[in-house]
């Protein structure tokens, strides 16, 4: 084999490797089939289903920064809550209830807040960053508490009135309309996430997560990259918050709470970080388990969630999807998961 043949072969297999990592796999259809199937199998559970879809979108937005860029945060609810309040206040105070634009408005407000806070926060790392993200969410919650005239304070924001979707589909008692609405929004946001993580930009985020010092040494504007993905993630969390406000027609301080920031982190870790679909699996498992355990034992349901988290962290470092990958590799050795 001569030199140029060798070059040709090496190049071809390199291109193939890049293309392979971006290719759609049949397993990727499963969560969407499940989501559509759930509508027909459990039509009475669509209110819960809608909340699950919203939580998945929120967890997905966290995966962009945590799973890909390695930004650890305990304050992601700040952006979910900012979106929820922005959407809610648009309707309650300004009387604009068109659902799609109101949701996008929530996303835009959260993204703007994400850009400003991220610009400052992302100069820090590790424990300092963790505490600052936590503090940001607490500050925002206290602000919302104080600005009672606008937010309703502790009593919550009332008077949200959302118009029919696309001017046609009314909000129904079973939550069917909102289930399809949330599923569509989730799917579109997922396509955006998938596009980003497979782009050169997305790959550079993984580089930052792997070794920030080396990224500096190859000329990466690390801070700018992190602020960019943080803004996108905050915007997506805000869209989730906007959907939440619209589907409940009510917003309380709870949307900004530490409990919400913590729960989304747990959902993502349980499902598997840095693989997009971890958000789907973790969130569904978490919320369905929560629902079932609460029926079983209204006082101790959190015990079951805690136990699940301990087991996953101790035994499946890659979350439930990581465990599934390991199992696939054992059953079909040599096959790529």
């Amino acid at each position: 084999m001569n030199a140029s043949d060798e070059t040709e072969t090496a190049r071809r297999s390199a291109h193939e490797a890049f293309a392979r990592s971006e290719r759609w796999r049949w397993t990727e259809a499963l969560p969407w089939i499940a989501a559509v199937g759930a509508f027909f199998v459990f039509p009475d559970y669509m209110a819960l289903g809608t909340q699950i879809l919203i939580a998945i979108l929120f967890a997905l937005s966290l995966d962009l920064i945590l799973g890909y860029a390695g930004i650890i945060t305990l304050g992601h609810a700040a952006y979910f809550g900012a979106g929820a309040y922005a959407t809610g206040m648009l309707s309650a105070h300004l009387g604009w209830g068109e659902p799609i634009s109101a949701m996008l408005f929530g996303g835009a407000v959260a993204a703007a807040f994400g850009f400003v806070s991220g610009w400052i926060l992302l100069r820090y790392h590790g424990l300092t960053l963790l505490m600052l993200t936590l503090a940001t969410a607490i500050l925002l919650m206290e602000t919302a508490n104080v600005l009672e005239a606008w937010t309703g304070g502790f009593d919550g924001l009332v008077g949200i009135s959302i118009w029919p979707l696309l001017g046609t589909f009314e909000y129904d008692l079973w939550g069917h309309t909102y289930y399809w609405y949330a599923l569509t929004v989730l799917f579109l946001c997922f396509l955006v996430c998938r596009r980003i993580v497979h782009s050169p930009f997305g790959r550079s985020l993984v580089g930052i997560k792997n070794n920030t010092a080396r990224m500096h040494a190859i000329g990466t504007p690390v801070h700018r990259r992190l602020v960019t993905i943080y803004t996108i993630s905050a915007g997506m969390a805000g869209i989730a918050g906007g959907l939440f406000a619209e589907s409940n027609a009510f917003v309380t301080l709870d949307v900004l709470s530490f409990a919400r920031s913590g729960a989304v982190l747990i959902m993502l870790v349980v499902g598997g970080v840095g693989r997009l679909y971890g958000a789907f699996v973790g969130t569904a498992v978490f919320l369905i388990l929560e629902d079932e355990l609460a029926k079983l034992s209204p006082e101790f349901w959190e015990f079951g969630i805690g136990l699940l988290l301990v087991l996953v962290v101790l035994f499946f470092r890659g979350g439930l999807l990581g465990a599934a990958d390991a199992l696939t590799r054992r059953l079909f050795p040599g096959k790529r998961p």
Binding site: A14, A17, F18, R195, P200, G202, H216, I218, G219, T228
Partner: protein, 257 residues
């Protein structure tokens, strides 16, 4: 991004560069000059301030006095990234690699940063054929192509050291700082690293910081000896080997000069 300079003009220059950490004067008025294609070694006993000097030149720490010029331009106030963009690349004494990524992806990250492709977030990475091709070509020249699809963490240490160099080549540097490139590699394998360094493009000015005197004397055309943060002596290898002051400094150390 090499800017054209006259053949004998310095590509990298430091002028009376100084740095103190509290009472400790770690860099004392260091003048260093590398012209195009230089093969320059920086040696000195432990604690002489070699790593600090590299950190000053690359912009990891800021000097208290003096200036640094790259291709004739003062870069003393520039960030790490801006120095890299102007043609300065470095390797690390302890591997700084993207351990979860394959060898190919490691180098492609570097190439994509140089070409600006890494800014793009709305198209698949596989579309950037030129980036992938260039990464593959670098791997071929370093004999790493066989490991292209191997994640870095699964690679033997000596091969990881080669990947360190491969990443810098993705920057197409005009100045390359090699911080103990053979550190941690068994001496039986260090010749592989040295062969790779010897085969690097003649246009690149190389500053090598090294403890292994075999490597230094095989590689360097100029040697600077650093002691207590200042330049003790500079000259061609033959002169350094004979220098009484250098012998005195290394006396009691295991290194055979």
């Amino acid at each position: 991004m090499t800017t054209p300079v006259a053949d004998n003009a310095p590509v990298l220059e430091t002028r009376t560069l100084s740095k103190r950490f509290g009472a400790l004067h770690v860099t004392r008025d260091v003048d260093l000059s590398l012209s195009r294609g230089a093969r320059h070694a920086l040696i000195g006993p432990n604690g002489a301030g070699k790593t600090t000097l590299v950190n000053l030149i690359t912009g990891v720490v800021r000097p208290d006095g003096g200036s640094i010029l790259l291709n004739g331009r003062d870069i003393t106030g520039l960030s790490r990234e801006d120095r890299v963009k102007r043609g300065m690349a470095r390797t690390f004494q302890i591997n700084q690699l993207f351990r979860d990524l394959t060898v190919l992806e490691n180098v492609a990250l570097s190439v994509a940063e140089r070409t600006g492709a890494a800014r793009r977030l709305w198209r698949p990475a596989s579309v950037d054929s030129a980036v992938i091709d260039e990464a593959v070509d670098i791997l071929l020249t370093l004999d790493l192509a066989g490991d292209a699809q191997t994640p870095i963490r699964e690679l033997p240490y000596g091969r990881q050291r080669l990947a360190e160099i491969a990443i810098t080549l993705g920057q197409r540097p005009s100045v390359l700082l090699l911080d103990e490139p053979a550190a941690g590699v068994p001496s039986a394998e260090s010749h592989i690293i040295l062969d790779v360094i010897a085969a690097l493009d003649d246009d690149i000015a190389i500053l090598i910081i090294e403890h292994d005197m075999d490597i230094v004397f095989r590689f360097a055309k100029t040697i600077t000896v650093l002691v207590s943060g200042g330049v003790l002596v500079e000259g061609p290898p033959e002169d350094i080997a004979r220098d009484e002051k250098v012998r005195a400094v290394y006396l009691g150390e295991d290194t055979d000069v």
